[in-house]
Amino acid sequence: MLTRQLSLSAPIFLFIFLFQEAVVNQFKLPGGGFSLFAIFALIWAVISTPEIAALTGFGAGILMDMSQSAGGPVGQWTLIMIIVCYGVSYLGYGDGNINGNPIGVVFFVVIANLITGLLFLASSALLGVTTGGFAQILLTLLGNSLWTLVITPIVLPVFSFMHNFVFETRTVL
């Protein structure tokens, strides 16, 4: 069962990552834009079990670390994504008000995206990665959060359908 799920999930993750790098990154959007891949990984984690969410975070983090625009050392995004993906899944697991409700999922993804940014800043400070001035950081965090708030409801049905297809669950958001 797990083999089937992994073999179906991997191409989806690779495709979204490729789409992020080849298409989304082409646009210089105001406020820093958004990361479709991060949104995808977080949605996937919120509607999965904590075990799957941790694996999701690991896989997504590895791919994000492989991106040319990853500022820090390999493993930094992996660590952050494992923690955040497991965290959001753990908090929402079994609670229909969160992972069964589109508004709950959107709320969780936006907050998780913000926490991801904050964790990246904190870990960058520890690892000596330069991240810029306070105003610029604030603008990027705010911009990313607003973009995530706009994009997540649009892509949620598609990603939820994919998740349903892979895990054969009955509920589609």
Partner: protein
Amino acid sequence: MRYGGEGRTRLLLIILIVTALFLITLDLRGVAVLDGARQGTQTILSPFQKAGNFILTPVKNFVTDITHLGRTRNQIEKLRADNAKLKSDLLNRRNADAQLKQLKSILDLAGTAGYKVVNTRVISQGSSQSFSQTVTIDIGSNAGIKKNMTVLSQSGIAGVVKEVYPTSALVMLASDPAFKIGVRIAGTQQIGILTGRGSRSGSLQLLDNLTTVKVGDVLLARGSVANRPFVPGVPVGYVTAVDNSAGEIAQNATVRYYTNFGGLGVLAVVVAASPSNPGDALVPTKPVPTPIPTVTVYVTPSPSPTE
């Protein structure tokens, strides 16, 4: 928090976190395997990025027009009025024209200084998720590009080559917070360090506490040993504000870069500098104000009808 936290999940979580920490440690110790993995990924991604750039250029132009609507409204209105019939053709041609203009300016700049350059196109903007300012260009080690080479835009310095792959390279823009460049003020030759701020403005710190800087001063790259990472004489920006705080050891200033980092299309990588330092030869000329013609109106009184 409904999840029971079974032992298996906790064990998995610990294993994954330890793996991530292991990767970080390996990377910080400079293990070549991880660099190879990143390079391999970039080699795979590069053709997709080039294809994405080619396909999405008209869409990008449209988005750029939308985001700059406030600033270029008058210009757009004028163009729309003049070129209504050719609108669809213009959408495709404008990109080529803009790139040609950028390329011409870059070649003029490089030619004046005697730099040997390789021209390149930007194929991807770096994600701001990592708070860094980077772009990917469509040439790499196959075209002779190496790490720490200066990258020029049409107006001056754009950044420095940070990573090189066979068919592409990652350029750290001068606006990146980690970017630092030694600069000198054209004319007075005072020297300082310019640091990026994540936007089009940078922070200048003079090295000598006895020297002063004033608004409008032009900054040029001071150059590095063996001309890497920076060749000398490249225009960097101009001073827009000076901080005269009494407590500072040396004077600080805010600098506006000549390069518009939001509209980079064509760049040039300096593969060899000129044998002699170009000095202040590349200082941009200030725009000459267009004289407004004075209109003189002569009034001749008409004869009164009563007369």
